[in-house]
């Protein structure tokens, strides 16, 4: 028995060690530093709530959080709509498995290039004299170039949706592929129309996949800073940008405190989501 438990500990040790060093320790460090103090030129170890007090009483924090949540919600809505549609098409309208896999891989091809490149390639397209404006002007749809195409909330959300839709497609497609096709026939046999089958059978059975995709997208958008910086032309802020600014100014304690609050917010969000849907079956 004793021998067995030693082996058990040994088997668990490598992964535990990796998690400890690369996950637990950094987070613990961030939490510790978040209580430190800082002056214009130095950082000093301490245990004080100054950083949190400043953050939680500042009007800016709430505005930035509100903006971050706005990005998250709008991006979520669009990625869900597009992701669900693409997954539905792949899972239910493509008959052969070979084609399903081929088209699925096609969806992932853009992801072989860097995020930044894909993001930046929007800039010449959307810019004041970019392709989009030129095309619209030459078609006579507009007379003046549209100013809101680039360096706006529109371009930020467009880039988010472009970058993260696949994170919605993959889990939803995966869940849909597990739906027994005879359930759809049973629904049709019971007189359900196409929409009724979608609403009463497919969506309820796809919920776990939707939830996993939601967690991916929300976590990614909440933690992002680079997309917001590039696509808003540094005109919009989200929590990630706040942290990045603090780090740029070497205000590590303040950055840590912001990071801790962001972590708690995202965890609470995901915790709430998980109360509604049981995703354990999917894992």
């Amino acid at each position: 028995m004793r021998n067995n438990s030693v082996i058990g500990w040994l088997l668990a040790a490598p992964l535990s060690l990796v998690l400890l060093v690369f996950l637990v320790a950094p987070i613990a460090m961030i939490v510790v530093v978040s209580f430190w103090g800082a002056t214009e030129w130095s950082i000093y170890p301490a245990f004080q709530f100054d950083n949190y007090t400043f953050l939680l009483t500042s009007d800016v924090t709430y505005r930035v959080y509100l903006n971050t949540l706005k990005y998250a919600i709008i991006t979520w809505a669009f990625t869900l709509l597009i992701g669900f549609t693409v997954a539905y098409y792949l899972a239910f309208h493509i008959r052969s498995l070979t084609w399903q896999i081929a088209l699925f891989l096609l969806c992932t091809i853009p992801f072989l290039t860097s995020n930044i490149i894909r993001m930046i390639s929007w800039i010449p397209f959307l810019g004041r004299n970019g392709l989009a404006n030129q095309a619209l002007i030459s078609w006579g749809v507009i007379d003046e170039p549209l100013e809101w195409l680039l360096f706006s909330d529109f371009s930020v959300i467009l880039a988010f949706v472009h970058l993260y839709t696949l994170f919605m497609v993959v889990p939803i497609f995966n869940t849909m592929m597990r739906i027994d096709k005879s359930l759809i026939e049973a629904a049709v046999d019971a007189g359900a129309s196409g929409w009724q089958t979608l609403w009463h059978v497919i969506i309820p059975l796809t919920k776990p996949g939707i939830m996993i995709g939601t967690i991916f997208v929300v976590a990614l958008v909440m933690g992002d800073f680079i997309t917001v910086r590039f696509m808003s032309g540094s005109q919009s802020a989200n929590v990630g940008r706040m942290i990045q600014n603090d780090i740029g100014l070497l205000q590590y304690p303040s950055a840590s405190a912001t990071a801790v609050i962001l972590l708690v917010t995202v965890l609470l969000l995901i915790g709430t989501l998980l109360r509604f849907v049981d995703i354990r079956k999917e894992l």
Binding site: D180, E185, G191, Q196, H200, V201, L205
Partner: protein, 327 residues
């Protein structure tokens, strides 16, 4: 029964590309019949059922129910209901909501549809499990729930796709008795697809034996069993010997064979195997033409004059017991 509810297949054909799954079959099911489509896998029986249900398009020919052509109607408008092989219960809905599903699709209010679903569950003796979810039910219970769900639309024809194949042998025998009882009570037509000849014989008023996309033989169950028309039917139904005689192939039921002296019988043979089966003894003998024949003797007959392996015997039968076979 109401003759207006007869189900008829007219030159029904199903093609998948260049393969013909069902080749122009015609059959008339009287209303209130328990019919079994019987055949080996790939014979077209499931495609036939799915065409009747409307889950497979009809390539050619037509299906009529009570003189109404239903070949191209959507499944729910045909007056048929289907019970799926794996039951296809909705895993996210309770038994009650599963049964009430079609009423919900029609927009029936919740009180009415739950009341109706409750009645259906009563019929299949599942009232106490109404709040369970499908994964909390045993195979037999799932089947009853699926039956209740199929019957709530008051179909004229219930289509069952290998309904017993997912059950263990003991439960299979119990559920088939319940299916038969239910069919008698409801008086509607049941069309039941199976590859088990014992299941078909036990349940069906009429059997339709299919092979290679066509109907090999069809009719009253006893008539088919007593006089198989082809070697395939005789072999598939079992309990028959198919023997090639000088004047053609014949089928003889194994319990119609009598053991006599070698020189006083129609067919001489040598015993190759003796199998004790409790109430019966199965005696296998090799006969001229490198054929094997099995005789099923009652234990009394066999042990009255026991035989040994390798012994020469004569196999005999009454004139009416042998049926000439086509092909």
């Amino acid at each position: 029964m109401n003759r207006n509810l007869d189900l008829e297949l007219i030159s029904l054909t199903k093609r998948y590309g260049s393969t013909v799954a069902v080749d122009s079959i015609s059959y008339h099911f009287d209303a209130g019949t328990y019919a079994c489509l019987l055949g080996p896998s790939g014979c077209g029986k499931s495609s036939t059922l799915r065409m009747i249900a409307g889950h497979e398009s009809v390539s050619d020919g037509s299906i009529t129910l009570g003189k109404r052509d239903i070949s191209h109607l959507p499944p729910a408008k045909r007056g048929t209901a289907m019970m799926f092989q794996n039951y296809a219960l909705f895993p996210h809905l309770s038994v009650l909501d599963n049964v009430a599903f079609s009423l919900k699709m029609q927009g029936t209010d919740i009180a009415t549809r739950h009341a109706r679903a409750g009645e259906m569950l009563e019929l299949v003796d599942m009232s106490n499990l109404a709040d369970r979810f499908p994964d909390q039910l045993s195979g037999g219970q799932q089947q009853r729930a699926a039956l209740a769900r199929a019957l709530i639309t008051k179909p004229d024809v219930l289509l069952l796709d290998e309904p017993l194949s997912a059950l263990d042998p003991f439960l299979r025998i119990r559920m088939r008795a319940e299916l038969k009882k239910l069919q008698r009570e409801l008086g509607i037509t049941f069309v039941h697809v199976t590859h088990g000849q014992d299941e078909a014989l036990a349940l069906a008023d009429e059997i339709v034996v299919m092979n290679n996309a066509v109907i090999e033989q069809a009719g009253k169950t006893r008539a088919v069993f007593d006089a198989p028309a082809t070697a395939f039917v005789a072999r598939f139904l079992g309990s028959h010997n198919v023997v090639s005689m000088p004047d053609g192939m014949i089928a003889i039921r194994s319990d119609a064979l009598q053991i006599k002296d070698a020189n006083a019988a129609k067919l001489p043979g040598t015993i190759t195997n003796i199998e004790y089966q409790g109430t019966h003894v199965a005696l296998t003998a090799s006969v001229p033409g490198e054929q094997e024949v099995t005789a099923l003797l009652s234990d009394k007959d066999f042990f009255g004059s026991p035989k040994n392996l390798g012994e020469a015997i004569g196999l005999d039968w009454e004139a009416g017991a042998a049926h000439a076979l086509a092909g």
